[in-house]
């Protein structure tokens, strides 16, 4: 599904520094993995490279057999729109939209018909436990609820790859475990590949496999 080979990335600013060194990773459909590592080690950079928001110095990223490295911004944008879903630490819901509208955003971007979209949104609302609250403004939600909406948005267009960057970092332990479980279940249900970047061992524990990123590369925790 996702195949990363010998990925390397250096930043020139503020000082020349190699962030990723020879990273390789395979994630299969339906597989949910976690990436852990110290702060500043390059976890988010790896995620951005996968999302096509940054370009690697060398190496290759293949999504569903399609090489990402070297594509132009338009192609990458379309790939993100159709095949990827994102969950952020700060939720990043649009405050002036309702819960349903926020969730429907990727569907609208992918030209899904309104009828299909509303069906999909109500099923997602039910699955995240917010059935009937689709018309609420997002600012009336609690933090946990917001992140659940964000997860629903990330899954709405049935992406093949879900990228989550510290999705529970802003949440209390109860909400966090709820969100972690939801994310895992949704990845599995959607038969997608999922990558969770986190510091939290508890969160990582909900995934199928755990990798650790260090200066030498990306290694399974068992191996490290």
């Amino acid at each position: 599904m996702l195949s990363i080979r010998n990925l390397g990335k250096s930043f020139l600013c503020p000082e020349s520094r190699e962030v990723l060194h020879d990273v390789s990773l395979e994630v299969a459909r339906g597989e949910y993995i976690a990436i852990m590592g110290e702060s500043g080690i390059g976890k988010s950079t790896l995620l951005n490279l996968i999302a096509g928001l940054e370009m690697p110095d060398h190496g290759s990223i293949r999504l569903d057999g399609c090489e990402l490295v070297g594509l132009d911004d338009n192609r990458l944008t379309r790939l993100r729109r159709q095949k990827m879903g994102f969950v952020f630490q700060a939720f990043h819901l649009l405050p002036y939209l309702t819960v349903s509208q926020n969730i429907a955003l990727p569907l609208a971007l992918n030209d899904v018909s309104e009828r299909d979209a509303s069906e999909r949104v109500s099923s997602l609302l039910a699955s995240i436990g917010l059935a009937g609250r689709g018309g609420s403004p997002v600012r009336e939600l609690s933090g946990g609820e917001m992140q659940r909406v964000a997860i629903a948005r990330a899954l709405a267009h049935r992406p093949q790859l879900i990228l989550a960057d510290e999705p529970t970092g802003n949440l209390d332990p109860v909400s966090a475990s709820h969100v972690q479980a939801l994310l895992r279940d949704q990845v599995r249900q959607g038969n997608a590949a999922g990558i969770l970047v986190t510091h939290s061992p508890a969160a990582a524990a909900t995934t199928d496999r755990i990798y650790v990123l260090n200066p030498e590369g990306l290694f399974p925790r068992d191996a490290a």
Partner: protein, 838 residues
Amino acid sequence: MNRLAIMKAVTGPVGDHPGRIFMSLLGIALGVALGVSIHLVNRAAVGEFSQAVRNVSGQADLTVQGPATGMNEAIYPYLANMPEVALASPVLEVEAKLPGRSETLRLLGVDIFRASRLLPLAIENGDGNPAAASMLDPQAVFLSASAAQWLGVRPGDNLTLQAGLAPVQLRLAGILPQESYRQRLGVMDIGAAQWRFLSLGRISRVDLRLGNGVPVDTFRRKLAASLPPGVEAIKPAAAGERAASLSRAYRVNLNVLAMVALFTGAFLVFTTQAMTVLRRRAQIALLRVLGVTRSTLSWLLLAQGAAIGAVGAALGIVLGYLVAFHGLRHFGADLGGGYFHNVAQATIAAPGSLAVFFALGICAAMLGALAPAIESARTPPAQALKPGDRERALARAGITWPGLALLVLGAALTPLPPVAGLPLFGYLSIALMLLGTVLLMPALAARSFGWLPAFRSVPLQIARAQLHGAPGRAAISMGAIVVSFSLMVAMAIMVGSFRHSVEHWLEEILPADLYLRAAQRVETAFINPETQTLIRQTPGIRQADFLRSSDLLLRPGAAPVTLIARPLMGRTISEILPLTETGAARVSGDPPPAWISEAVADLYGYRTGQRIELPIGGAQVEFTVAGIWRDYARQSGAIAIDRALYIQLTADWRADSAALWLESGISADAVTALLRERIPNGAWLDIAQPGKIRAISLEIFDRSFAVTYILEAVAVLIGLLGVSSSFGSEALARRNEFGMLRHIGMSRRQIGAMFGLEGAMISTLGALVGLLLGWLIALILILVVNRQSFHWSMELYPPWQLLFGLSASLILAASFTAVLAGRHAMSCDPVHAVREDW
């Protein structure tokens, strides 16, 4: 944490939004500058005028002033013999026509023996000796240095002036002391002036010094009762005030512009502060948590507004000085308005009233800063620290009743009469309507954008949702647009209507084929009866109407009304005068008819059918008001009566202009040439075809409004720049949203389009509201402000093309700036954007 540090935390470094602060400064500066320069120019003009009055009236306690055509000289011994009068000095004022020039020279005929006791005239021959002897020389004239320079003459030179259509030779006997006679004028013997300028038996005024202990006001009242009609006793200072009141109405227009600029400035301060407070909401809340009190916070924010105001006002005062200085040098004291005749360049003294303008600038800025200061201090800090709270802050602005109340109040103020001749309630009403509309903007934005249909296109959909869901932000940008655009629209409609009305009026008032006049506003040039016959008998002329203009003083202290005597009996009046109202048919036994201009109707309360008394020929003569006509030429008012009756009353056969109708097939040019040939000194006659007069009049109109247009354009430009800067900070504030949208698959172009669409929707609604409000303000300007200032009505002629052009360019410009702002915001990469929490 010291105060400075708190300040920094609240407002952020200035570098955060230098453009926006600069715009606010500029708005305030422009408003203050306009106010200051209008004030200074007017001060210079009035000062110059008072100085002139002092020079020619000296230390007189009272001036007995006759109409412009003068009064019988018998009043002079009558006044001189009154026991209360210590000294009476007679003066004959002559606006002498200069042959071959359109300008005139003001000549004062004085009795040197009397005048020199009222004022140290210090006229010297040049050898240090008093010039009394040469003052008596009937050829001698003494000119001020500016007049001599203007005419290019030196002492000993001859000078030719015009009386009737004949030349008058004078000799420049000396120069008046420059320090007290700055304006262009000449002094000569009163006897010689009467004789040579064909004014035997007439004097213009008598300056009086009263005996010791005679109370001036008591005596003035006593005297007023015994003066003949049309003659009044005034204090010399009042003459200067009257001159000021003449230009006051002209200043109204410029003052509106100053108001526009100040309002725009205040609004820019508001947007600056509102955006700052929004962006720094969390920091501010943090400060509150850390223990900064509510009032400290409010004061800090107000102080920042005040600081902007102070810098802007200081800048404005300097700018105003420069504008006034250069304006005076290049345009004269009326900035091209033509009100201060013969006023030379004036030096500007430093007035204490600049402090008022300084304060006004600060107040405007603080007013702008007030709402954000109060709002941000009020917010519970815990709430402000929650994400997504920005919208809550703005949601509060959605209440509608204060805005509606202000609009209603503004409308209710419009029927109120002027205060001291100034349309203060009109101004207040405009200000209230502006404020009311701005307050209504959030609610309006929410509703209007809610009505828009749901769009298929995602950028459009998000843009609509953003505007509908967060109307507070849109309202700030829209407010800036509405404020500057509505005032621009109002001015455009008003000036457009005025110009159209003047154009139409010029057609109505100039029905003849050819016009002829001896000179413009001059008493010394006229067409005598022989010349009138000569003109009538000129081949090719079918009909010649001769006109005589003179001044009538209808109320002491008021500016004189122009009396126009012209053939009216047996004519269709509506073909001669642009009537706006006609009285009932005349009943036999009624006094003779008089047609009054709108200004006379407004100023003196005359109505059609009313019987009025006019002081003509030294007696009160009764007339019936037969109709009211529109007159854009004389804002102090004009009254038209039949010339035959005028001659019967005054035995004044002279005319100063004529309207000529030609035989069909005769060319105006041929008749013009023939007239110049037949009439002695015919070259001195001003002969023009109506088309040329119309063209010249409109050119003068455009010139006097040119300053208005330029200043308006600058004010609007600043308003637009303010809008663009508000889009800019809006885009910056939404950087993380843009970042997220990039993550979930929106392209740069889509986001740019989305933000551009928002700009377009905001500016479209802003322009629509601006048009509507501008229309309302234009109505107030036309029906209240102008009517009360100038006393003339005008038809409403909106310049549609201009308005649509302006709206389209506004929307385009705003959308374009929005796209630019959005693009600028996206230039930082989405990766970092999503990480930014606040």
